[in-house]
Symmetry: C3
Subunit: 244 residues, 3 copies
């Protein structure tokens, strides 16, 4: 049993927009440490985690730890109906998750909980050698550039730049962002553009994304709330294509 | 023969947007009392009436009462081409209705009148026991909420609230609006969500809608101009579904 | 070899939006007189010319005259990715045209040049007896009006008005614009509405369009930059339909 009140509905909207494009059903864990989601897509290429501390919420009541499994599309449909100034209240009864929007009108939605209890997947431990911070919107836009030419993109970090590079049959594209960090090595990996675009649906979650990678290793993305009590993270397996 | 001049084109746009989604062809009556349309949809579930007094218009000339039958889709296509600051002039010749927009450019459109003269349907007399006023935009939004789950919605009025309630296979929704009126009974009827959405295309006609209903009886909607010289009204037959 | 720098990316965007809807591949000539494109559509109904003097550009380097053939769709795809405050740098290497956007991020795109060198078509010499200036946006809107009823439109100029007239099976439309010029004759020609709409994709190029025509002769459209160092022009063959 739990009751969460959140005046910033957009936070849930933005997170679940990314989550619902990655997985169909998801386990949400609510306990004294907050509201958490971990999910792995079917092909085991993308791992996604949402971690919201109790302080993110205007009200956070949870006496007994709870686990609910929801259909992410159905949940997203409801979240999309929120108005900008609505307050969200999340709770559950026997068989439903209850989503309440309080504003000019009081609106209450119930959607059926899913009976299956999945294991919450755990992210693999990674130690990417290089990490840079980039405005999330810039990366988002770059991905649209890259998508014009190819389904794969090389992410590369060198002493000065974070680069996204693609070469397609009809053209090439390259974007370079001066990262301003003290980096001494050059790393490069190849990733799927459509998968990255799904993950960057969370780009509204925070203005800055922390990008960590190595040579031919998984990509780690971290979107952190300014207040530091909420985080959305992703792992993405590299594509096997070799640089020619 | 008539000539109507209206500087608020939106008034016609908003009314005919609803009318054209309910009926394909409609009889407009123009006489010394104003411009009137009454229409019943094919399945006889929705009745719709538009009543604009001469004072709504900047100019209203009508020496001999006239009746014209128009294709609502064709008429709507033209109205959509109006700019915000255009003045509308409506008249007719032998076989056409003439729609003129005066602004930076003068534009004149003619669409063929339809030769068949339909009877103007009369609304059935109803005496709904309960009536409340609700911001029309709120109801409009509620209908979108309800449409997520079901094709039918229960409208209910009790001492304090006007409520819209739906329960679908995958979820439920309920919206409650504190009506602030002196109502002593509880009434409830079930209506078609898509039909209501067609009717609420007229919601821009006025900010407030008067909703009158009873138990399992037709719904009456009235959108009134603030100036009180124009009104758009609807009747909607209840659905037979019983509350379980 | 050339290098063109342009801070007003929109200029290229607007021009190539029209060009790409008329031809698939186009020859661009760059020499000491500027950047020029001339193109004729496959059916030889539309001729289109773009002429940008060196002064339009922030930087214009071209030591040896150059000719490049590009795929207009591919080029347009890249131009669409420009942000409002990006600076465009255009150059070429052996086999590619290089499009660089400089802003918060540096982005560089290469698209393959086309190996075939087409002849640059020359516009036929015309001497239209009548010419008027009309706000390009007004004509653009008129064409949408006309498109409701028919695929052909009569452009007519008389002593007072520039008129667009169409009569379709279901209705007629007429738009009149008071041109305020000293014109003593009446001319009229019939043109294709869809072709005109393609050409008016360039309407954002300048606020005013110069329209020149005669009786049953080709239409000349000229969009000129305010600074007078750039121009986009079109010729459109008349339709053979006779006025009834």
């Amino acid at each position: 049993m739990f009751k969460l009140v959140l005046s910033d509905v957009k936070l849930f909207k933005n997170s679940f927009e990314a989550i619902s494009s990655i997985v169909d059903e998801v386990v949400c864990v609510i306990d004294s440490e907050g509201f958490r989601v971990t999910a792995m897509d079917r092909s085991h290429i993308v791992f996604c985690g949402l971690d919201l501390k109790p302080t993110v919420f205007d009200e956070f009541e949870c006496t007994v730890p709870d686990k609910i499994t929801i259909d992410t599309d159905e949940f997203m449909k409801i979240l999309k109906r929120a108005k900008g100034n609505d307050t969200l209240t999340l709770s559950s009864d026997e068989g439903n998750v209850i989503i309440k929007f309080t504003g000019d009108v009081d609106r209450e939605f119930k959607i059926r909980l899913i009976d299956i209890e999945y294991e919450s997947p755990q992210p693999p431990a990674l130690n990417p050698p290089v990490s840079v911070e980039v405005p999330s919107d810039l990366v988002n836009e770059c991905l649209k550039d890259m998508a014009l030419f190819s389904e794969k993109v090389y992410f590369m970090v060198d002493e000065n730049y974070f680069k996204a590079i693609t070469d397609g049959e009809f053209g090439d594209a390259e974007a370079a962002y001066l990262h301003g960090e003290n980096i001494l090595e050059v790393v490069k990996s190849c990733y799927s553009v459509p998968k990255l675009q799904e993950m960057f649906k969370a780009s509204k979650f925070s203005d800055i994304v922390e990008i960590a990678l190595g040579n031919d290793m998984p990509l780690t993305l971290k979107f952190k709330l300014v207040s530091d009590d909420g985080e959305m993270s992703f792992l993405l397996a590299p594509r096997l294509e070799q640089d020619e």
